[in-house]
């Protein structure tokens, strides 16, 4: 469980998240990609805390802030998905072609 | 992670025995209370044998299934519910020796296990590919989100006098005074949330009769028996945690520690089982409104009061 192995795993999670966020058409799947990216970031932060920072609590604080960001992004993302659907009847990015009020 | 010096086999034996005994006690209590409420009187031996007869009758039922269910998720849901009950019971000390798993953040592990119960019940409602189970699963998602905040806050309030998140430390901090006296708001809120976690009695919303059995509507035979046993196991776990967190665990005058734990757990079980037969099932809309509007502020008051008392 060396630092290198942990960082490679975190990079893999981030890479899969980038693939998902770019390739999916529906809003909910794009959000899943974003969640995976933040999860990779959390794993990398805690790996650094455990192996390179000697238990400095600010490393854990970074992970807590990242989890807060994850929660806020999920909540507001879902609310926006619902709002967009109500106004524009669009649940896929392809349907939002016109910049119209 | 320091595990209490118990071999894995002994750990499985201890948690397994506690769960099996607890499930049996629930079944007997349930039969006794329902007979009493219905006005019938049953002899004691019939009550003690009744759980075995009901289990045998369930096992002899024909096994039915639905069209194109998600069979893997269905199996995972039932097994996960039982596993989460065992996982939650792992951190509760059943005697003065300590819990099977001496986890320094025992309360958080218990909270995580009870949060994952929501996933298990939702999957159990989703996988039969049928309408009423799915509605039951959805209703449980709303119910679970409503009771989770009061449950977490009340357990945090219990951790404050002990200055530790470990359940053993919480029990040890009740040496002179039980938490039910120090924090009077705690136990009622915890019992309501515990009834919600185990979806029993007045909060038996996902498996309710108005949904034809809800998430268990399409279950039969061994799967139904396993689901009901898992649900009773969750009730045992939350009652054991309530006994440890509020009623002082193994502390008590004459009898040995494990006997006190069993008595207190059975007392909480009896309260919930009796409530199941005397109180009507609440409407989900009412429960959600009351939980968010009333229970969360009450739980916050509980945390503030216990915090002030701990800072004194």
């Amino acid at each position: 469980m060396s630092l290198q192995a942990l960082l490679v795993v975190a990079a893999a999670l981030f890479g899969v998240g980038v693939y998902g966020a770019l390739s999916q058409q529906t809003f909910v799947m794009i959000m899943m990609g974003l969640e995976l990216m933040i999860s990779g970031a959390i794993l990398a932060a805690v790996a650094m805390w455990a192996r390179a920072a000697g238990g400095n609590p600010k490393g854990q604080l970074l992970a807590v802030v990242a989890m807060t960001v994850m929660a806020i992004e999920a909540a507001l993302g879902f609310a926006l998905v619902v709002a967009i659907y109500r106004v524009r009847k669009a649940d896929m990015t392809e349907k939002l072609k016109r910049l119209r009020g | 992670m320091t595990v209490h010096a118990v071999s894995p086999a002994a750990a499985v034996a201890e948690v397994g025995t506690a769960l099996v005994a607890g499930v049996y006690v629930i079944a007997v209590l349930d039969g006794a209370v329902s007979a009493r409420v219905a006005g019938r009187s049953r002899p004691g031996t019939a009550l003690l044998v009744m759980p075995a007869r009901r289990a045998a009758r369930l096992l002899l039922q024909a096994r039915t299934t639905t069209e194109r269910p998600d069979a893997a998720a269905w199996a995972v849901a039932t097994v996960a519910l039982g596993a989460l009950a065992a996982g939650g019971l792992m951190v509760v000390p059943l005697s003065a020796r300590g819990a099977v798993a001496e986890v320094a953040d025992g309360i958080v592990l218990f909270g995580a296990a009870m949060a994952l119960v929501m996933v298990a019940v939702f999957l159990h409602g989703w996988s039969p590919n049928s309408v009423f189970p799915m509605i039951g699963g959805y209703r449980f998602a709303a119910q679970a989100l409503s009771y989770e905040m009061p449950l977490a806050l009340v357990l945090i309030a219990v951790a404050l006098p002990a200055q530790s998140l470990s359940v053993t430390a919480i029990v040890e901090s009740q040496h002179g005074l039980w938490n039910v006296v120090r924090q009077p708001l705690g136990l009622p809120l915890y019992l309501i949330a515990a009834t919600g976690v185990a979806f029993w009695g007045p909060l038996a919303i996902p498996d309710s009769a108005d949904l034809g059995g809800g998430t268990a509507a399409e279950s039969s035979s061994s799967e139904l028996l396993a689901w009901r046993v898992a649900r009773a196991a969750v009730l045992v776990t939350v009652s054991a945690m309530g006994a440890a967190a509020f009623l002082g665990g193994w502390w008590g005058p004459l009898l040995p520690g494990p006997v006190w734990v069993a008595l207190k757990t059975t007392a909480l079980l009896a309260i919930i089982v009796v409530a199941g037969h005397t109180l009507a099932r609440v409407r989900l809309e009412s429960f959600v409104v009351v939980a968010w509007v009333a229970f969360i502020p009450l739980a916050l008051v509980d945390v503030f009061v216990s915090g002030i008392l701990a800072l004194r």
Binding site: Q4, L7, I42, W49, V81 | M1, D105
Partner: protein, 217 residues
Amino acid sequence: MTGSWLVEVFFWAFAATAVISAYLVFRVDSMVRAAFWLLASFLAVGAILVLLEARFLGLVLLLMMAGEMTIMAVFMVMFMMNPAGLNPMTMVHQHRTAVVAGVASFLALASVGLFVRFPDRPVPAEGTAQATADLGGELLGDSMLIFETAGVSLLAAMVGAIALASRNGRFGDAYVSSRPPDLDDVTAASPADGPAAEADEAAMDGGGMDHAGMDHG
């Protein structure tokens, strides 16, 4: 630590679970299974965090993700056209670009992880309880401003999400003042062109009639 090879085995098992189930999220047809594969990925990451002696963070991640993924499953059923995966279909766009971007970001970050020389200051082996206590002291001590800001941000997010998603309108409760969305397929072309085309025609008619009126007069 006794049995550290066991810890290594568990770590690689959890790491493989995390990455494979993350990939499966975008591969399965059944949408609810996608949400729960994401939960499996998060459970594996939480387990790795517990193995790393950050047990509090791992357990909190598990707790958070249980609720979040159930809600995501509910949203999948609401918004995806194929929630149970009964008709296999792939809905991806710019697939090759996405693969290239994913692989490139993985290679970039992995090379940073492998080739940079990080300091070697491991957390003490039995330091989990101390880690939780340190986190508590940090949150309420040096970093209280960050903690309070995070709390207020969460509150603002809750209020904003409810305001965006709630159906209550200016004229009262939802069931009084809003009408449900109609279920026929509204394409992008017709509502935009319809009123505009009619308006254009009305303007042209008015212009023709006016000219005719003025010519008469």
